[in-house]
Symmetry: C2
Subunit: 152 residues, 2 copies
């Protein structure tokens, strides 16, 4: 199954934005994560709707952070993406008539639900600020560098 990397991608973008004041055009951000500007607009749309970022058209326009990074968790970002499926596996049929299927769904469903809940809880424990601080530590003495320097 093809892996969904939108959460990973949008976090990368947000971290880049947290390193410098901005605004950033979709094209600049696209180069930083090696993708297409339209893809950036696509994954940022939900964040904009929830007020986590702002977008401006025209000269000097682009994307700007519009939230308190210590108040937004990775889970919030995930939800902003539209809460895509977390698990690659699922029950063959939901609401089956067959009792065998029901027994299988009950056992698997419990395991699946527990794993999803744990994942969401973990994502809810990490704020964008914590992520940004971790990045700061990784950058070490090389602070205040631009996007181009972070990317190979």
């Amino acid at each position: 199954m093809k892996r969904d990397s939108r959460l990973s991608g949008v976090l990368h973008v947000l971290l880049h934005m947290a390193q410098q004041p901005g605004p950033f055009t979709s094209e600049t951000l696209a180069k930083a994560v090696d993708t297409n500007p339209v893809v950036i607009r696509r994954i940022m749309a939900g964040l904009r709707d929830l007020g986590y970022v702002r977008s401006e058209k025209g000269h000097g326009g682009g994307w700007t952070l519009a939230c308190d990074l210590s108040k937004v968790t990775l889970r919030d970002v995930y939800v902003a993406l539209g809460s895509p499926a977390l698990l690659a596996m699922g029950n063959r049929t939901e609401a089956p008539g067959c009792l065998v299927e029901k027994a299988v769904n009950a056992a698997l469903g419990k395991a699946f639900d527990d794993a999803e809940a744990l994942l969401l809880a973990r994502l809810g424990e990490v704020t964008l600020a914590m992520l940004s601080e971790d990045l700061g530590r990784r950058l070490g003495s090389r602070k205040q560098q631009g996007i181009s320097a972070h990317h190979r």
Copy 2:
């Protein structure tokens, strides 16, 4: 992302087999789970290789359970399928050079790993025998019924 239902499907098949002595042809099993005989052979191949089931060709042939149901867990069945991806999401890039990507991967990777570990642990707690017993309870007074009766 398209949902992988092989684990759900193969468990359904195994439970059906546990209800009656067998052997069962791929065609019979395919009808029970509403799919194609080749799909049955495909998802059963790994189980056969690990000795959980046996297959016989020719007249009177088909699939037979060949293991102690109380010794095989849902995790064992999952592994027999080839341990397909559990999570629908993943990091954009493994082993990135970019420090921003590394920070994102570290945070997400931890959450992902924890969720995967929990899911595998849960699957490891449930044996096929437990699943079969649960099915027995669900069937209630309607014991000893054939496959056709279980399926709508």
